[in-house]
Amino acid sequence: MPANKKKTYWKSIEEKEVTPEFSQTLDGEFPAKPEELGQLLDSGNNQNTGVSRRSFLRAAGFSIAGTMFASCVRAPIEKSIPILIKPEEITPGRAYWYATACAGCNAGCGILTKNRDGRPIKVEGNPGHPLSKGGVCAVGQAMVLGLYDSQRLQQPIANGQPADWDEIDLAVNMKLAGIKNKVYVLTGTITSPSTRAAIQRFLRKFRDSAHIEYDPVSYSAILDAHEQNFQKRVLPHYHFDRAEVIVSFDADFLGTWLSPVEFTKAYTAGRSLDGESAKMSKHIQLEGRMSITGANADQRIKVTAAEGRATLIAIAKKLARKSGSSFPDWQTGTSPESIDDRTIDELATQLWQARGKSLVVCGLNETGTQGVVNFINEKLGNYGKTLDIERPSRQWSGDDRKVQALLSKMNAGDVNALFVSNVNPAYSLPAAAQFRTDFEKVPLTVAFAEHIDETSSLAQFVLPVPHFLESWNEAEVVSGVIGVSQPTVPVFGQTRSLRRTLTTWLGNKEDELGSLQSFWRESIFPRQKTAASFQQFWDQSVHDGYAQVKPIPVLPQSFRMGQTEPAQPSAGLDSASYELVLYQKAAMLDGRHAHNAWLQELSDPVTKVVWDNYVCLSPETALSLGIKEGGIVNVAAGDVTLELPAQIQPGQHDRVVAIAVGYGRMGTERFTNVGPDWLEGKPTLTAGQRVGQNGYVLALGTPDGFFYHSKVKIAATGKHSNLALTQTHHTITVPEELGGQRRDIVRETTLAAYAEDPASGNHAGHETLQLWAQDHKYEGHHWAMSIDLSKCTGCSACVISCQAENNVPVVGKDEVFRRREMAWLRLDRYYSGDSDNVEVLHQPVMCQHCDHAPCEGVCPVLATVHSDEGLNQQIYNRCVGTRYCANNCPYKVRRFNWFDYWRKGDRENLALNPDITTRTRGVMEKCSLCVQRIQEAKAEAKRLGNPLADGDIKLACEQSCPADAIVFGDMNDPNSRVSKLIHDPRHYRLLEEMNFRPTVGYLTKVRNLDEDAKDHV
């Protein structure tokens, strides 16, 4: 084994360079000792502590006696109040499910909600949905907490005063009676055809009026480019599973771009090693910052936007030559410095060889560049194969130019009434300040909103809209695929949907369901042929959560090259200026869910930072500017400046700085005291502070659209603010005295090596011994899990799924600094290579359920013991909190409840899962392999008299994984999926050589590379 060629993995630069700070984090499972205890222990003998043996015994005796007396009372009287008239389908204690469509973002994935006792407690993917196919992202999972948000608007507000709907209807109609023209409805993308129709009907009364769609992070350029090239303003429907070569320029399609869950499903389907022959698509990512998609790419090329654009033009020119057509003689601006001609040649050749089976996507919101991408896809014959514009996506249809035109009209006082719905322009526009001034000049302003936000706080009328989990709605996400939303819980407060409010103003008295059904009867039912009656069609669609109907035909004209040259908003970088990339984080998206504590505390899949946004800098740039991690950086674009802490991001382009949007939202002040309240506790935010800062102010708004790439100057300020990052927490290490060497926690190989030897990269060859083979035979089930590192993209959907299923509390920023985050499932992110050019690996780690569990032997009270089905059980009521188990756990997956995190009386507590204990202070906890689901499935199988089949038990993390990377099952059943995976040559277990015999295993990561085949042994 050529050991010198083996990769070294590291989770942070501190770990790579073994800085003193990092070594400190390895000191013990638990960081700082409490001061007094520290003194007590450090003093060496107890005579100096002031606590004598006698007084200790006295205190102990008193406590025991006190506890005995206190517990000698009868249990409190509890009432059992049954429902008076029981609906047939509801049995207390049994979950029932509703199919609905997620509205966490515009992608509209199919979801199922698990309901208990009249309320949803968990969101899961709908396996029958034709697009999302059972996957659901972290945001979708967190929507159940959003439903119970106690700050959601409950009542309409008229000019700052609470009002009721009759007053609102009267007041708005009186105002509208005096308005004849120039009425505008500004919304986010509306995927609901009935709402769209209602808006059109409402606007028919007024001249010079329009419905304008605005997406804060806009994809307008893709639609505009298609309008130029095909004369149809459509967003293609991408099929990543059909592509053998994927070239993505700055499109984070596995993280946030367009429809990430659907794309992740398709992407992993195209890279599956499960079949007969190993077949994997080749994914090349060109980008400046490090995105989730870039982290998963087979080949990642660091480019600035200008370099990437030049590369695309160069590829387009080469393809034009190959296909015998012409390409306009556009100047490429900067020549692609970091990319030599050979690389461009290789890219063009690979694409050309995969004609009709390749896909080029681009995340730049810039029409000229998107035109180049369309040219490339057209010349490769990909239209109709890997991307479809005849059955286009309707997920995003914002039109930047119309938004900009509206803004100038508002500025000129040319708008008589403005209705804003489901979008927050006073926060997300680059010129938000101007918008706020102009908005107040409009004679009638109405905001439809779930929260009091930047825009609705300025409107004359604020009309609360229901959460999607409590309302009837639909979403035509792709032409012909219509998701149906149904209420899963009675509405909180007095809310009314946009559609119902508009139809009410038009004199229609139908309720939410009635108005939706009327529309379906007229417009959707005629588009299908399977069902005979409308009722049958409707019932089936509501049951399934979606309907598939005939798409409305889009007839694109043949391709015509547009004449728009690519704009260069960030071209001409000199030594003092940097290219700013504004991006969305997988959890926070465009900022619409900033109220959600789960999402705020989800560590970012790449940077692993929680509760903040920051400036990502490359290590080289940080060094040259003398900036350390957490050092506050001043970012200036013209006269707009922003001061944010720096995060040093390996793999980032040296001329690129990246800032996440979606932070600095109004209403995030609520998280000031989100963590536990104790003597040394510090608030997550200082009084009045918001979480992070608004990055949108640095975006560019031109008449052509919004650009999220611009030119900025950066400078160190000398100030410092620590970032709460979890990446160096819970690092698996070997102490110095035991050798201190790094263990191969993650293993990888290349496709070429894998084809030669499926076990390549996995030849550790440790022989292990079963210590208690006779004593513990596992005669019934033996539960096991297998995680495919090749499939896992690091999207973190499993982390939030686990949090929702297992009542994992939010601890706040200060507790994260103390390494006390409670997530049962963490996603470790490893880098390899030098910090300039890194490869990335993601690895979900939860309790490994070792057959020889080190935690079990050290528990003095037997609170953690092994079950005869191979589960490592944690018994909360037995646990006395010695924390020996956590100190002895080599995988560092145990979490200690330092506090009572639950606050009584919060409405958010309705999201708690009643099937699992909420743990109290002083108790250790960890992944139980969702034992409540195992028990439920076993009980149901028994009840129905069926044997438990493979796949009957789906764990929370497994169910929601958009990449199908996690498989759980019984390894005593030779035909179960997990048994087969355990015998896969790629299968290995963490720290196999220590003989803990974990039942959780991993499959090596395979990258589609043909080089280095010999190195992966």
Partner: protein, 218 residues
């Protein structure tokens, strides 16, 4: 020396006395509510329904065979019978006799306990119909069999394994007022599970009862 002996004897007498007293007044260990039989909002008789009338337990406690919770029956189940049966047979006989004596029409006799049920669900005994404008008032029964929050007992598994309800709940069909028969302690649960596995319980031979911690605690 003698002083010391007297002290020891007195202390022992105190301890023994306390134990004897504790046993005589039936003091339970903390958390043990054995024998708990509180007043209920409606004096429902299991002796009458389950014992004399021989109603099946599952007729009212519908959840027991398909859910974790057996469930306190909803008032709508009571109304299956009690929209026709408004009083006990004795009361009906008395009313018949009185009506005959007073030479008047028969009035519908309504028992005082059932009046509470009708008030809760909004049933008018004059018209023998539900009130259109009724205000529903849930009945707040007092819970007797109460396990701690960290214990997940599943009725469904026990009922489907053909464990008789009386095994844990005692002779309910003889109880006028329901009371907690077993101490519901973990030792009591586990002993029964062990007995099943060793084949000591004649009714449940050949069955398996888990003694894993996570069978109940998660």
């Amino acid at each position: 020396m003698t002083n010391r002996n007297v002290t020891i004897i007195l202390l022992m007498a105190l301890v023994i006395g306390t134990i004897i007293y504790a046993r005589s007044v039936n003091i339970n260990l903390p958390g043990n509510n054995q024998g708990y039989a509180p007043e209920q909002p409606i004096a429902f008789s299991h002796r009458l329904h389950s014992g004399d009338l021989k109603l099946d337990c599952l007729y009212c406690h519908t959840g027991a065979e398909k859910s974790r919770h057996a469930g306190t029956p909803p008032a709508s189940i009571c109304m299956n019978c009690h929209q026709f049966v408004t009083a006990g047979w004795d009361q009906v006989k008395i009313e018949e006799k009185q009506a005959l004596e007073e030479k008047r029409d028969l009035q519908i006799p309504v028992s005082s306990e059932l009046r509470k049920l009708y008030a809760a669900i909004g049933f008018n005994t004059d018209t023998m119909r539900y009130d259109e404008s009724r205000q529903e008032q849930p009945i707040a029964w007092v819970r007797i069999h109460n396990l701690p929050a960290f214990t997940y007992f599943d009725h469904r598994r026990h009922v489907n394994a053909e464990v008789a309800c009386q095994q844990c709940h005692g002779p309910v069909e003889t109880m006028e007022k329901i009371s907690q028969e077993s101490d519901l302690s973990m030792g009591w649960c586990v002993n029964c599970h062990r007995d099943v596995n060793t084949g000591t319980l004649p009714d449940l031979i050949g069955r398996h009862a888990s003694t894993n911690c996570a069978a109940c605690h998660y």
